[in-house]
């Protein structure tokens, strides 16, 4: 558990589980869980590559490379905002349709 490929493999597994959830589940909250898992897989990749790979850009003079971690901080904040909006939408959709089954929410179909 100390080489870069280990972390990338864990990230791949998380992403695969997220895709499985997106394909099979019909409960809107489960879809939110799956999306969160996939976002976390991507974040894990960013930090792992940022920590293991050397920084070779001459333009920036910051000796220790914090770019990967900084990007993940922004990504986590965005994911939190996204989760709040999705939960609000799910609550409203439930009040309108009395259901959280996404295959039943077809009133906006053209």
């Amino acid at each position: 558990m100390n080489s870069l490929s280990d972390f990338v493999l864990v990230s791949a597994m998380l992403f695969g589980i997220g895709v499985y959830g997106l394909v099979t589940k019909r409960n809107a909250l489960r879809l939110l869980f799956a999306v969160e898992l996939m976002i976390n897989a991507a974040n894990l990749n960013f930090v792992a590559f940022g920590q293991y790979l050397p920084f070779e850009s001459g333009a920036q003079t910051l000796a220790p490379n914090a770019l990967g971690q900084t990007f993940v901080l922004f990504s986590i904040a965005l994911a939190a905002a996204e989760a709040a909006v999705i939960l609000a939408i799910v609550v409203v959709a439930y009040r309108l349709h009395k259901d959280v089954d996404v295959s039943e929410l077809n009133s906006m179909e053209g």
């Binding site: 558990m1 898992l37 050397p54 490379n65 971690q69 309108l96």
Partner: protein, 159 residues
């Protein structure tokens, strides 16, 4: 690692959605421990604070406050869809795993970047300051949007 992947499966397969939310929190905590292993404690603490402290609790409170039977019941999935999902997930994992094993990623065993939170703070507050401001606007807009969504519906109900 086992905690992360196992809890992720629990999050999607638990019968009750409450247990699913707890499984999701466990999986996010596992990712946070992986961040600690990667020598990124600031990101790990941020992950615990935001995901477990905010997102997981938000989901739990939403589920408990609405408290309807339809939320927690597992919606039936046809066996064909389930099989297709498992196959798709496995195919993606296998493809990524083959790609990773085929490269020489396993030769990187030393953490070369030892950026502390001071470096992260410098980067955020100087070069990435516009991103930070835009992110603050996005967060505020999303919170306002979420509140408006639930409020508008309540007014509709009382009329």
């Amino acid at each position: 690692m086992v905690l992360t992947v196992g809890s992720a499966i629990v999050a999607l397969e638990a019968k009750e959605i409450i247990y699913g939310a707890i499984g999701l929190a466990g999986s996010l905590f596992g990712v946070a421990t992986l961040f600690f292993l990667l020598n990124a404690p600031y990101v790990a603490v941020f992950q615990i604070a935001v995901y477990i402290g905010a997102v997981a609790v938000l989901i739990l409170f939403t589920v408990m406050l609405v408290r309807e039977e339809k939320w927690s019941k597992e919606l039936p999935t046809s066996s064909f869809t389930r099989l297709a999902g498992i196959l798709t997930g496995l195919a993606i994992v296998l493809a990524l795993a083959v790609a990773v094993v085929d490269t020489d990623l396993s030769q990187f065993t030393n953490l070369v970047n030892t950026a502390t939170f001071v470096d992260i703070g410098q980067l955020i507050s100087t070069g990435d300051a516009p991103i930070l401001l835009v992110l603050a606007l996005v967060l505020a807009a999303s919170v306002v949007g979420a509140i408006t969504l639930s409020r508008a519906d309540r007014e509709e109900k009382t009329q």
